[in-house]
Symmetry: C2
Subunit: 893 residues, 2 copies
């Protein structure tokens, strides 16, 4: 027999757990214990640890030996504290059973309330509470939840109504009433009977009357829910290992539904949308907790600070004593945890009980504000503040917003549940959202209310709109966590799933119609709305300033235009790490000259065409260098295969033929000649420059001419010319010679000297392994981790979608290696490349310019391997700055 | 001023060089010096070292300081030895000027004979020789060669006649004579005048009369020829670095054209075609050396052993004294060099002079025979013998020969210039050969005679046929060097370049017609001829036996059929290193089942189709395992992307749709769905097995069922199941589990246990870097260097042709990395993979199964990094065995 302890008791002054034991007790269990420890009123109970879950799955879904005895002992302890007995009809102790894993997985897991009840106990509860309706309502709720969660009576099809709700609806019709609350005690009794009959009929299972049997059934269901599809999807999306397991919390019930002196609610110690220091919460009178979260009744504000509707009654007004207790407690909790808390409470007959506290989810705006405010309040230090904000979440703040000058048609207003701006086409089902999005459509997911089953669709939607539910409804919480724009509880909408329509003030919107959402204002807008760049300042600027003080890693940007360069510079970019020149080849007349070059049979013909491109390229570089005055600009020579510049359809080939004065057949012949089986591994990058050195020559000339011209105007330019797709040192030397010879010639012509560097991308695996050789000639390295990932893994980025999903599901990769650098594979090659490059040149400047340069985890990696800079898209520059600061704090090296 | 010595004198007992100084003096120069050292009669002269060439190109085509003085001193020394003076009309000393690089580059470089002559000197030569015709013939030859080589008067178009030959033809017509030799002394004088006039007219250059000016002009031309196109092409084909440079040999002339007591010839000390120990040579009376090589007059045999035409006069018969001297010298040279020699000689008025000796080029058959014979003769030891044969050359012996039972129509017989059998379509120009071959055609290059300009076309031709020239003609020598089948001097052919026809006995063959060549018999055969496998024995078997005694590296084969397995086993294969299973999927009805599987929407449908494939696969493995009884057989699970199994053209898609009873649209939709941008990096290899484990399961079942069945029959089988395209350890574990679970099940069903291994390809760069992790589960590694090369270099094998040529020309790669492993790049990853794999499992079995497994240089590499085996195509097994032995001898490790 094992000596392992599986069950941890919690009650005032008697807790066996504490906040630090999250891995063992789950977040909820650990914090319940901790609240008991610091004198906050918590209904007593006990936690089955995550090790039970692990043992359960390791042991073919059997519980470890000794668990039963430990649970019985914990029940007995709870009974002692409360002076009530589990299963005692005279003064029954009821339990809630809830999951609780190491990190919060909102709505992912199942919960059962009012457990330990049957007809006889209900009668006892009625007697002792003097409130038969409450007793039968509790029993009705229990049978419904238990039937759903444990006995698995659910709608067969997603669009079917809930079987229990159908019975309730029928009952209301039969009785001629509107609201659930209008049903009488006898009605509730009938419902219980009908529920049980429906369960028996549909599942063939008898509803258990024995409290202990009920308890083990619920515990089993919670552990079982750890492996259900929606939990698995959530874990995949959030990279949570399935080995972590969940704990099960069995807690004595307190009742918010015992009468009008009862209530239940949720609150945040600061505003989770913007971080303002206000106590922000919602509650429902005479309700149980699930009613608030589920969004069935629209909750009321706890105090005046968030009261918007004059008809609403605040908790402060209605129940001042428990409200003041709640204020004391939230302050205590925030001071204790030194972070904004998300709390759940129940008031039973005027007495306040806390059911949960945890660090509250928040928008990026709120995270930044709270972190900065808490430093100013002396609650935390700057380092803690820097670590408090997830760099990735800044994305929410950095994306364009609706142009305030745009004339918009607001068709409805709901709750500003998650900030941001979104434009997309309406879909009504999460599956459709996934399908449409897979085809490249921007979609807005429109639902009456969302449920955990919708998680996949919510993840891909640009925005989420619901007609029911409050700021803490499922849709709102999940959207904020994802950083997705959300308008919730927009009652003006009449949503019809079957017809796939949404009607607002008589106007019908169909699936596929365009709408826009302003998640910061709660507005629903007809059609598409133009966006503008966000303005960053205040707390954001303060936090970024602290980050800049800390970090060593420089942050540059990938930008191909003066506009992008300016945007990035405003976001704090310290140079351009990747200026792609090929995009410039597509604009306007240029593409004609490019095609003329491709069609040319010989060098002379190519040179004629390139001469036409030269002035354009020089102007491009002039603008970019000017925008980046005093900062380095890395320009990559032509990279893509030439066939990318040719049209592939008949119509455009005809246009091209006419423009160049050649036959369609000649165009087609060239397209055929340039066809490649694996263009990714074909005639591109420096291979073009080696076959056609005149291309490199033209580009080098454009760069150096622009630099000379600017220098004459007194503008300081620092061009760095970067050769792509180098795999061997002779390739680099070949191209460097073309650049250096050209630069020399141009500077002689212009009569002015400019400084410049010639370096290389490291994106071919061979380049990383032979970096010592390449570094002999290269003046800098820039890791092109997009291509390096493709080649090191043998994954075509354009095709990997076909199997990457399987790979993530099987846990072969924990993350998409194109989003987050595969540190254990590709990363090893990067390390080798850095180490061998510096072996030859100890002070070699090294950066990264793949997409990974803006991914926080990858930025930390770049810091750890000793790179000098990362380069990322303009909107990710602040993300990279913050990630670099966190890297320095956590890995000072 | 530099102290470097640039000029090396050679003459009996006075040589400054020796055989070991080849790098400095070139092969020709070093051996001329060496012959002087061992008392062989050599006309004295001097060598300008290869360092002059290097300095010349390093210094912008200027000679190093001091060279002029050294050359003048060497001339003076030569004059002293011979008692004649350069430029002295009374007793003129003439020179030949020849190139001579470190390795022989036959016909690549230009030569000038009879240098140091003008009208006045010719008169003196006529007087002193008493032979005016000889003197004027020499002058005529000089003006012609100098005009061509130094003054660059050449045909404008390839098909134009030589301008000098045109003048000669006109002269012969004018004089009404047939042969050059019928022209009188006065005719020759006129020719000289007309040649000079033509040169002046066409090039604008005055012909130099000053001997010293002539000499520097010729030296400059030789150095210049080092960088001409045909020399560059030859170096590229033969991987000779351009830094090596060439030496220039300036040697006093002896005259084979002074009269009928004069002759010139070339000979081999053994038969270069088959290695027989006969003295084998050809000569021409009253001729200069170039006449023999150029193939203008058909030479005579030196002795009776190779006399085939009774009308021929052997040298032995005609000039017994110099012939006997030649026999003594060839024996002395062979004993001295301990290898078969290729010699050039001139007889001037009965006196024998040696102009060259070098190790003779030979066919593989000859190389093997000579090596084994020389061991038996006690001349060399076994190790030397093993190193004497180039493994690559064995290819000639191993390829199929014409089926002797086939009824063939021999249309003509020429000289058996290079053995082997070839079937192809007629082309008449080297350029056409390259173009047709580039399109995948097998071509036979048919020429009157070949010249160095044809080298590219000769390289790609399957066979070479000439109507003129002997066994030592350019075509014959080059073809033997390349191992290409050649029939030379087939006078029955009437070749018309303009009309692109070849007429034989009135029958006209056009470009594109099929013919076949038997290079061992000299036969030209109409149409295609079926081939059979060669039989290997005798000396070949002896040599391979010695190789096997020496080598440590095992040699396996890549084989997908029992027939290939048997062929390879006969060639000495010690197992199968790669049995590809996908080829089996194409045969007969199988492809229907494969397509059914691909079209299936779900696992059940796939399983139904796979069940149909199972018996076929089991039978395949049964046959292969049986053929390889007692030897290991590595079977690779399905590798190619599924779209390779679908038809891509309308007609075949329609057939497929009808066969499967679906619509054409459904087929097209599937083809579209499976389309990939970079299939090389797409859904293939183990990625298929991970998405569709039932495929791996079926294959594992087929393998283990076959193994069980055979074991029951008492046949010992050693299956090794290999998972392709693994990049991460979880992928391998995933597939290994499928295999192991299936094997267990099959063995339980069959009631018998078989031993088997599960291992992985290492072909994705990530696999090599993380080999330590993968080795935890893998029981063997096999490096798939084809794909590893593609991914490490980022070169698509199917597309790299577009730039690889440029890369070889620019020296970025010395060799095609798909033929010879890129040891400094891909090889580093292989080393990392071996080292990390063995770090986890010190006795891990490691092999290679890419094409490189049959490439001798790559085999040496595999030996050096400590692999256990290489695997290659059946016909390359002996090559790998020999290469492995050489590796062991040269790198005993």
């Amino acid at each position: 027999m094992s000596n392992k302890k599986y069950v941890y008791f919690f009650a005032a002054n008697q807790s066996e757990g504490k906040a630090e034991m999250k891995n063992l007790l789950g977040g909820k269990g650990a914090n319940l214990a901790e609240m008991c420890n610091i004198g906050v009123p918590v209904p007593p109970g006990f936690t089955l640890s995550t090790e039970v879950c692990t043992a359960y799955y390791d042991n073919n879904r059997n519980y470890p030996a000794g668990l039963k005895e430990e649970v019985e002992a914990a029940i007995a302890k709870t009974e002692t504290v409360l002076g009530k007995k589990f299963g005692d009809p005279n003064d029954p102790l009821l339990f809630s059973v809830r999951s609780g894993s190491r990190v919060s997985m909102p709505g992912m897991m199942d919960t059962v309330l009012n457990l330990g009840i049957n007809e006889k106990i209900t009668e006892g509860l009625a007697k002792i509470s003097g409130n038969p309706r409450f007793a039968w309502d509790s029993f009705r709720r229990f049978v419904q939840m238990y039937g759903d969660v444990v006995l698995d009576l659910k709608p067969v099809n997603k669009e079917d109504e809930d079987p229990f709700e159908m019975i309730i609806e029928a009952k209301k019709e039969e009785k001629g009433v509107e609201l659930d609350t209008d049903l009488s005690t006898d009605d509730l009794k009938e419902l219980v009977t009908e529920f049980k009959a429906a369960i028996k009929e549909k599942t063939g299972r008898e509803f258990p009357d024995d409290p202990m049997e009920q308890l083990w059934g619920a515990i089993g269901a919670v552990f079982g829910s750890w492996m259900n599809d929606r939990a698995k999807t959530y874990r995949t999306l959030n990279q949570i290992p399935s080995e972590w397991g969940t704990a099960v919390n069995v807690q004595s019930m307190v009742y918010g539904n015992m009468g009008t002196d009862c209530a239940t609610g949720v609150a945040f110690t600061r505003d989770p949308a913007n971080g303002k220091k206000i106590f922000y919460g919602e509650y429902l009178v005479n309700a149980q907790g699930e009613d608030v979260v589920a969004g069935i009744r629209t909750p009321q504000p706890v105090n005046a600070s968030t009261k918007s509707d004059p008809s609403h009654k605040t908790l402060e007004e209605l129940m001042p004593k428990p409200y003041n207790d709640l204020v004391d407690i939230y302050k205590k909790l925030e001071n204790h945890y030194k972070d904004m808390q998300d709390i759940e409470f129940t008031i039973q007959q005027g007495k306040l009980w806390m059911l949960q506290t945890r660090n509250g989810k928040r928008t990026a705006e709120a995270a930044v504000s709270i972190a900065v405010d808490m430093v100013n309040e002396g609650l935390i230090d700057k380092k803690t503040a820097i670590n408090r904000v997830k760099p990735e979440s800044l994305d929410q703040l950095l994306h364009p917003m609706f142009d305030p000058k745009a004339s918009i048609n607001v068709i409805a207003t709901g709750l500003p549940a998650s900030p941001g701006a979104a434009t997309g086409r309406i879909v009504f089902h999460a599956d459709d959202a996934e399908e449409w999005s897979g085809k490249g459509e921007n979609v807005i997911l429109v639902r009456i209310e969302t449920s955990p089953e919708d998680i996949g669709g919510m993840h891909v939607a640009k925005g989420i709109l619901t007609s029911r539910g409050g700021m803490t409804s499922h849709a709102a919480v999940v959207a904020r966590g994802m950083g997705t724009c959300c308008v919730a509880g927009c009652g003006a909408l009449d949503i019809n799933y079957k017809q796939k329509t949404m009607t607002v003030s008589g106007k019908v919107f169909k699936e596929g119609d365009w709408i826009s959402l302003d998640g910061s204002k709660g507005q629903v807008i007809e059609g598409k709305v133009p966006t503008i760049d966000p303005v960053l300042s205040g707390n954001f600027g303060t936090l970024m300033g602290w980050a800049d003080e800390v970090r060593h890693l420089k942050v540059r940007t990938n930008a191909d235009t003066p506009h992008d360069a300016e945007v990035a510079r405003n976001f704090g970019a310290e140079g351009i790490g990747l200026c792609r020149t090929e995009h410039m080849f597509f604009e306007g007349d240029r593409i004609k000259a490019v095609r003329e070059m491709i069609l040319a049979d010989n060098e002379a013909g190519r040179r004629r065409a390139l001469a036409k491109l030269l002035p354009y390229q020089r102007d491009d570089f002039y603008g970019i260098f000017k925008a980046m005055q005093d900062l380095p600009v890395t320009v990559r020579t032509l990279d893509p295969p030439l066939h990318e510049f040719l049209p592939h359809d008949d119509a455009n080939q005809k246009v091209m033929a006419d423009e160049l004065g050649i036959t369609l057949e000649e165009v087609k012949a060239k397209v055929d000649a340039l066809h490649e089986f694996n263009p990714m591994l074909g005639h591109r990058g420096c291979r073009l420059g080696i076959s056609y050195p005149e291309i490199t020559e033209m580009q080098a000339r454009a760069i150096i001419e622009a630099a000379c011209d600017l220098k004459k105007e007194g503008v300081n330019v620092l061009p760095e010319i970067m050769i792509p797709l180098v795999g061997t040192s002779p390739e680099f030397r070949n191209q460097k010679k073309v650049v250096v010879d050209t630069a020399k010639k141009v500077m002689e012509e212009k009569g002015i000297e400019v400084e410049y560097l010639v370096g290389t991308m490291i994106e071919v695996p061979r380049a990383a392994i032979t970096a010592d050789k390449i570094a002999k000639d290269a003046q800098f390295f820039s890791f092109g981790t997009n291509d390096l990932t493709q080649m090191t893994l043998g994954f075509s980025r354009d095709d990997a979608g076909k199997f990457l999903k399987d790979y993530l599901e099987h846990g072969i990769f924990k993350e998409d290696p194109f989003q987050t650098l595969d540190q254990n594979g590709v990363g090893l090659l990067v390390e080798i490349g850095v180490q061998r490059g510096r072996q030859t040149k100890p002070d070699l400047k090294i950066g990264i310019c793949g997409e990974h340069g803006g991914d926080p985890k990858s930025v930390v990696f770049c810091h750890k391997v000793g790179m000098n800079y990362v380069s990322c898209s303009p909107y990710r520059v602040p993300i990279a700055r913050l990630a670099a600061a966190q890297a320095q704090l956590n890995f000072p090296g």
